[in-house]
Amino acid sequence: MHRFEYANAASLQAAQEQLKADGSVIKAGGIDLLDLLKEHLIQPARLVQLKSIPELSNVHFDPQRGLSIGPMLTLAQTIQHPLIKQHTPSLVQAAQAIATPQIRNLATLGGNLCQRPRCWYFRSEDFHCFKKGGRRCFAQEGENINHAIYNNTLCAMVHPSGIAGPLVALGASVTLLKPPAPDRRLIKTKPLPHQTQTLPIEDFFTPPERSLLRETILGPQDILTHIHIPPRSSHSRDLYLKQKHKESADWPLAEIAVSAEIEQGRCKSLRVVLGSAAPTPWRSKAVEDAILGKPLDDKHIQQAAKAVRQDAKPLAQNAYKLDLFETLVARALHALNHPASQGRP
C-alpha cells in the first residue's frame, strides 16, 4: 500500500487548512478509503481525519427546520439515535441493513454518501475504465448482473449508498463547506471567508454524463458538514426495503426508499427512490405518477409497480432486476398503508 501522512483535524478550520495541500483526502470511518488504498485506486499524500471534530456528529431537531444530522455520525449511532428513529425510520432501516456490525461501528453517514462505486470493474486495478480515465465501460458487454438498468449507456455502475435513497425520498439537503472563491481583489486585506453551500441532495449526486471521474459535486477541499431533513407531517410515512442475495453482509440487488403523505388511503405526495438501479439514486417518477392520488389498493399498487419498467434498459444479465423492483415497489406501497407488514411478502 501507498504511504501517506495521517492528520487528525481538531476543528473544521484546521481541517480546511490540512486539506489545502495537494493530494489531501478526507477520512471518515475509512472503510471505503481502505479498500481504495489497498487496490491502489487512490494515492493520497495525506488523510485528514474528521472524527476528531465533535460537532460533525451532532444531531438536533427543530420543529420548523426539521432534523439536522452531522455527517460523522456512524451507521451504528444512526440506528440507535432516538430523534432519527422517531422522525425518519427509513434512515434507520437503511443503516441497519448495511454490511456488518463491525463496519457499521466505523462507517459514517457522510462516508457512505461519498463512497466510490462498487462496480467490480471499477474496483479492480486491472480494468482501466471510464471512471479511471480509461476509454470504455467494461460492464456494458461484460459481467453485468449487478449493474444499472437505468441510465446505463455511458457507465453502468449502480450508486453504492444505501443511505442516499432514503435521504432523496425524504427531500433532504446537504451543506458543504468550500474553500474561499479565488481572490480577485486588488488590495487583499483580510483573507476571504470560506463559503457554505446548501443544496438538495439530489443535486449533490452527479450522473456519469456530468462527470465520469466522480459521483458527487464535491471539490477536493469541500467538506460535507450537515444533512438536513425537512419536518414531516403527522400523515407522513417513510420506509426502506433492501433485497439482498445473501442475508449476511451482502450488497443489495435492489433497494427502494419511499416517503409519502397518506390521507384516506391515498398518497397526497410521494417520492419513490430506487437504489442499486442507476448510477445515481433513481427517483422513479413513473411509479410516483402512477399511484399519486389513487387508492393504495392491490389493483392500483400492481399497476404502479409495473411502471418501474418504463425507462429501464437492462443489460444482458440484469433484466431480473425489473422483477425485483416491481416486487419491492408493490411491497413498499402496500406497507405505506399497512405498516405492520414492514414490506414483507
Binding site: 467490480w120 459481467e143 448482473i145 449487478n146 445473501k246 449476511s248 451482502d250 411478502p345
Partner: protein, 749 residues
C-alpha cells in the same frame, strides 16, 4: 502370522457374522457388545481451548527472529509469452532481501506465479512487486468452456494441436467412456425416457487460512512451517526440488485452517518461500493474497452435463447415460460421472466425459471431486423419473438402491424431516412464499489403507504421549488419536498428550479422500494395544499371576479377568516401568473384508422460495451419514455441519466469475465471491449412523467428503417441490429462480 476371527459386523437389524483374517499382533475390531468409555462419545476436541483462545499457532502465526515477508507476483494476462522480466529496481529497493524470477516463458492464466520477493515488511515486499517490470507479448485466450471446445479456439497447450478430437478443439481431451451392461437395451426396456441438461459453476476452495509457508535454512537443513493437508508430501517435494535428502527437510503443521483438497505438496508458493529464504539467508514467510488464493490455489471444475434416464412404470430405472464435460482451467479433473456410476442398481450405464482446457487457474481436488456436480444432475433426474410415473421420490430411491445402509438412512431421514409434509403437487401453494421438501443421496469410498504409523510413549508418571507426523485438516485427528489410545489403555483422556504435524514423527498419509481417520486411528489402537500387552506382563509379575493370565485394562486399573480383585492402579503400575518409559510404534494393517466399502449418505432439505424475488431460503437440512463406527460424535457432527454449509454455499452462492473479454476474475474477494454466512445457515440435523464396518480395528471409514455431496441436489429438488420450477444450473441465484419460474408459467419461451 495371521489369525482368523469371527466378527459381528453391520448395524442393528442388519448384523452379519463375518470371518476376518487379521495379523497376529492386531487387536480384533471392537465387538458391538463392547462398552466404550471414550470412543463413540461426544468428546470435545483436545485442542479446542487452544483454538478458541488464539493460542494455537497456525503457519501464518509463526514469528522468527529476522523473519522476512514474501509476496508473489502473478501474471495479469491469461495467455502471453514473457519477453523479459526486469527485477533490478525491485532488488535495489531498501528492505528487499531477495527477488526470484521463475524461469518461465509462457503464462496460461491470470494468477500464474512469475516471481517473488522477500522484504523486511510486507509493505516493502508489495512495493517491490510493483517495481518488477514484466514485458508480455499477449496471445489469444479463451476462458469460456463452450468457446474453448470449438474448432479454431485459442489453444491452451499449442503442443496438443495435433490431438484435436474430430470436429473439436485440441483443448478437449479424448473422451473417457465407461460402459456397463447394454445401454440401448436399457432404453428399449424403459417406458419413459427423460432428459436434462445441467450446469454447475466453478467453486474455489476459499480456505480461510491461505496457502502459507514459512521456510528457514540452517546450512543444508530446511525447516518449513506449512498450511498443508500433507506434511510428508511437502517434505518430499522440497527434498526433490533442492536435491537434498528428505532427512534434511522438516515440515511442521501443528494447526491448519482449511484445505479441502487444495493443500497437497509444496507447489509454487512453498518452493518460492524456500528459494527466497535460501537467497536471503533468513526465514521467509510467504502468504498468498486472497485474490491469489482464488486465482491460483485451486478450484472445483464446472460441468455441463447431458443426462438421459430410462424408467419403467413400476419404478425400475433401466438405463442411465451421462455425457459431460467441464473445465479445470489448465488442469483436468472435471469428470462428474462417479455418482451415476456408483449409485443405483440399474445395470445399463454409459458415462462419457471430457476435460476442456481453458486459460484459467488449475483445478485441484476439492472435497469429493466430481461428486457434488454429478449428484446435482443424477438426483434431479431420479426425481424427474419419479414424477413422470407418479411415484414418491423416496419410494423410487428405496426401490432402486441396493445399499442396506443408505436404505435405512432414507427411512430414518424421511421421519426426521417429516417427509409426509411434502407437496403432492408442486407449485400449487398460494404464494408468494412457497415451501418444499427434497432429498438426495451420496456415496463415497473406503479409502483407508495400510502404512500409517503411531508412536506411543508411556511415562512413569502415568502420562501418555502419542506421535503422528500427519496433520489435522480439521477433522480432529489429534482428539481421535487421544480417544483411541485412552480407550485401549483404559485411562482418562486427560492423561494423553498427542503430538502431530511434524515430519520427524512417524508417517501418516495426506488428508485426502477422507482417509485420515481410517488410516491413522487403527495404528493408534494397535500401538496402544501392543503397549498394553507389555503392561499386562508387568502387572502379572507385580501381582504374581501366571504368565498368560487374561488381563483387562479399564478405568485406570489393570486386573485379572478371572479375578478382578487381582488389580493394580495405572499410576502405580507405570511407576514400575523399566527405565521409566515404554515406547511402542505400530503400523496400520491392510484392510479386512469389510461389511461395506461404499459409504452411504442421504440428505433432506426443506426450503422456502420467495416466488416474487427468486430468493431461496434453506430452512432445514437433515443429513444422515455413516463413517463406519463414529469415533467421536462431536467431531463427526462438525464434519456433517461443515459439509452441509459448504454444500449450501455451493448451491446458492459461490461462483468464480471470469470476464470473457479479459480473462480476469471479477470477484477475487469475499465480497462478490459470495460464501454462505451465519444468516444463511439453517437448522442442521446431523444424524450419525454407526456401522461396524470391520475393515480395520477401529471400524473407521471416512466422512469429510460425502457430507457435502448431496446438499445442492437436495435443495434443488426441494425448490422444485415448492415451486414446480426445476433449477438446472448452479448456483441457484434469484435471477435463475425467477427465470425458471417464468419458464414454468409460459413454457413456450
Amino acid at each position: 502370522m495371521s489369525q482368523e476371527i469371527k466378527s459381528k459386523l453391520g448395524f442393528p437389524g442388519q448384523w452379519q457374522e463375518t470371518t476376518l483374517r487379521i495379523p497376529d499382533d492386531e487387536p480384533p475390531p471392537w465387538d458391538p457388545s463392547y462398552k466404550f468409555q471414550t470412543v463413540n462419545k461426544a468428546v470435545p476436541r483436545v485442542d479446542a481451548f487452544a483454538k478458541v483462545t488464539g493460542r494455537a499457532t497456525y503457519t501464518t502465526d509463526i514469528r522468527k527472529p529476522g523473519l522476512l515477508y514474501g509476496r508473489l507476483l502473478v501474471s495479469s494476462h491469461p495467455s502471453a509469452t514473457i519477453k523479459s522480466i526486469d527485477v533490478s529496481k525491485a532488488k535495489a529497493l531498501t528492505g528487499v532481501k531477495a527477488v526470484i524470477a521463475l524461469p518461465i516463458k509462457e503464462v496460461r492464466f491470470v494468477g500464474q506465479e512469475i516471481a517473488a520477493v522477500a522484504a523486511t515488511s510486507s509493505q516493502i515486499a508489495d512495493d517491490a512487486l510493483r517495481l518488477i517490470k514484466v514485458e508480455y507479448d499477449p496471445r489469444p485466450f479463451v476462458v469460456d468452456v463452450e468457446t474453448a471446445r470449438k474448432e479454431g479456439a485459442p489453444l491452451v497447450f499449442p503442443k496438443r494441436a495435433a490431438q484435436a478430437p474430430e470436429g473439436k478443439s485440441a483443448n478437449v481431451t479424448p473422451q473417457r467412456i465407461t460402459k456397463r451392461g447394454d445401454i440401448e437395451a436399457g432404453f428399449k426396456r424403459a417406458e419413459h425416457i427423460l432428459e436434462g441438461q445441467f450446469r454447475t459453476q466453478v467453486q474455489t476452495h476459499s480456505c480461510l487460512e491461505p496457502h502459507a509457508f514459512t521456510a528457514e535454512w540452517e546450512g543444508d537443513q530446511l525447516t518449513v512451517w506449512a498450511s498443508t493437508q500433507s506434511t510428508f508430501s511437502v517434505r518430499d517435494e522440497l527434498a526433490q526440488v533442492f536435491e537434498i535428502s528428505p532427512s534434511k527437510v522438516r515440515v511442521f503443521s501443528e494447526y491448519m485452517g482449511g484445505g479441502f483438497g487444495s493443500k497437497f505438496g509444496a507447489r509454487a508458493s512453498g518452493k518460492l518461500a524456500a528459494m527466497l529464504a535460501k537467497e536471503a539467508k533468513a526465514p521467509v514467510c510467504l502468504i498468498p493474497s486472497r485474490k491469489e488464493e482464488h486465482l491460483t490455489h485451486g478450484n472445483r471444475p464446472n460441468s455441463v452435463q447431458h443426462f438421459k434416464m430410462g424408467v419403467r412404470n413400476d419404478g425400475t430405472i433401466t438405463a442411465m447415460q451421462l455425457t459431460s464435460y467441464g473445465t479445470g482451467g489448465i488442469a483436468g479433473g472435471a469428470a462428474a460421472t462417479r455418482p451415476m456410476l456408483g449409485l443405483y442398481r440399474c445395470p445399463n450405464k454409459l458415462a462419457i466425459d471430457e476435460d476442456v482446457f481453458t486459460h484459467a487457474g488449475p483445478a485441484r481436488a476439492f472435497r469429493a471431486p466430481g461428486h457434488p456436480q454429478g449428484a446435482f444432475s443424477l438426483e434431479q433426474m431420479v426425481d424427474m423419473c419419479a414424477e413422470k410415473i407418479g411415484m414418491d421420490p423416496l419410494q423410487i430411491r428405496l426401490q432402486n438402491d441396493p445399499h442396506t445402509v443408505r436404505r435405512a438412512q432414507m427411512e430414518l431421514g424421511a421421519k426426521r424431516i417429516g417427509w409426509d409434509r411434502r407437496n403432492k403437487t408442486p407449485g400449487t401453494q398460494k404464494g408468494p412464499i412457497m415451501r418444499g421438501l427434497g432429498m438426495a443421496s451420496s456415496l463415497w469410498y473406503n479409502t483407508g489403507s495400510a502404512g500409517a504409523e503411531i508412536l506411543v510413549k508411556i511415562h512413569k508418571d502415568g502420562r501418555v504421549e502419542a506421535f503422528s507426523g500427519g496433520q489435522d485438516i480439521g477433522t480432529g485427528i489429534r482428539t481421535l488419536i487421544a480417544q483411541v489410545v485412552a480407550e485401549e489403555l483404559g485411562i482418562p483422556l486427560q492423561l494423553l498428550h498427542v503430538h502431530i504435524g511434524d515430519t520427524q514423527h512417524p508417517y501418516a498419509p495426506g488428508s485426502g479422500g477422507s482417509k485420515t481417520t481410517p488410516c491413522v486411528t487403527p495404528a493408534a489402537r494397535k500401538a496402544a494395544f501392543l503397549a498394553k500387552q507389555k503392561l499386562f506382563d508387568l502387572a502379572r509379575t507385580l501381582l504374581k499371576l501366571e504368565p498368560k493370565t487374561p488381563m483387562i485394562a479399564q478405568q485406570s486399573r489393570i486386573f485379572s479377568k478371572a479375578d478382578p480383585k487381582m488389580s493394580v492402579d495405572w499410576a502405580q503400575l507405570t511407576r514400575y516401568l523399566p527405565n521409566g518409559i515404554l515406547s511402542v510404534q505400530a503400523t496400520r494393517a491392510h484392510n479386512y473384508a469389510a461389511y461395506n466399502n461404499i459409504i452411504a449418505g442421504v440428505q433432506f432439505a426443506e426450503v422456502e422460495v420467495d416466488t416474487q424475488t427468486g430468493l431461496i431460503r434453506v430452512l432445514k437440512i437433515v443429513a444422515v451419514h455413516d463413517c463406519g463406527l463414529v469415533l467421536n460424535k462431536l467431531t463427526a457432527r462438525s464434519q456433517v455441519n461443515g459439509g452441509v454449509i459448504q454444500g449450501i454455499s455451493y448451491a446458492l452462492f459461490e461462483d468464480r466469475i471470469l470476464d470473457p473479454r479479459t480473462g480476469q476474475m471479477v470477484n477475487p474477494n469475499f465480497e462478490h465471491y459470495k460464501i454462505a454466512g451465519s444468516r444463511e445457515i439453517p437448522e442442521i440435523d446431523a444424524v450419525l449412523f454407526d456401522v461396524y464396518a470391520g475393515s480395520n480395528n477401529t471400524h473407521a471409514l471416512g466422512l469429510g467428503e460425502p457430507t457435502t455431496v448431496p446438499t445442492a441436489a437436495a435443495i434443488a429438488n426441494a425448490v422444485y417441490n415448492a415451486t414446480g420450477a426445476r433449477l438446472f444450473e448452479l448456483p441457484m441465484t434469484p435471477d435463475r429462480v425467477l427465470k425458471a419460474l417464468a419458464q414454468r408459467r409460459s413454457p413456450q419461451k
